[in-house]
Amino acid sequence: DQQVKQNSPSLSVQEGRISILNCDYTNSMFDYFLWYKKYPAEGPTFLISISSIKDKNEDGRFTVFLNKSAKHLSLHIVPSQPGDSAVYFCAADNTNAGKSTFGDGTTLTVKP
């Protein structure tokens, strides 16, 4: 049973518009959530994170929202840029265990 799910394998948006990437989780023990960005032939790069004590975290164009009751988080990118085109992975941690569980990723394409 997959504990972290990214139900949209791909997303295409126009440059300048908002990109919204979604992630659902099932394990209520998860208390820390991360988003990674991955370009081809490179390893994932940390983008932004959120603790379960918060419902929003913002860093420049990137904002992550957490809805604990729905076990859902989302990453908003505003405005989207062609350089944002990559695979985005959602990951969840139980900080007592200290190891991440990843979703299968969403491929974002931002069209100029």
Binding site: T45, K99, S100
Partner: protein, 113 residues
């Protein structure tokens, strides 16, 4: 460079062959993680080191998989008697502490024929 490096970048092995994958973490990083990423999926945790101690190997899929970090720096993931289902990208990540930001290497793509 100052990032995590992995070698080889690509490895083709015949079924039954043993392979060794190397990870050079960022200098000073205490924590080191190995992940396996199958095609079209996200990385899956294999094992974790704190310095030279392997504190968590709960993700290793079988006893054919073995990892070591004898001097608390470079780590090697060894797979014995490789099988086709071992074909994947093997990612290494390092961090200052277990709960700190992980920095990933580019991965080693293993193909078992």
């Amino acid at each position: 460079g100052a990032g995590v490096s992995q070698s080889p970048r690509y490895k083709v092995a015949k079924r039954g062959q043993d392979v060794a994958l190397r990870c050079d973490p960022i200098s000073g990083h205490v924590s080191l993680f190995w992940y396996q990423q199958a095609l079209g999926q996200g990385p899956e945790f294999l094992t974790y080191f704190q310095n030279e101690a392997q504190l968590d190997k709960s993700g290793l899929p079988s006893d054919r998989f073995f990892a070591e970090r004898p001097e608390g720096s470079v780590s090697t993931l060894k797979i014995q008697r490789t099988q086709q289902e071992d074909s994947a990208v093997y990612l290494c990540a390092s961090s200052f502490g277990r709960l700190d930001t992980q920095y990933f290497g580019p991965g080693t793509r293993l193909t078992v024929l």
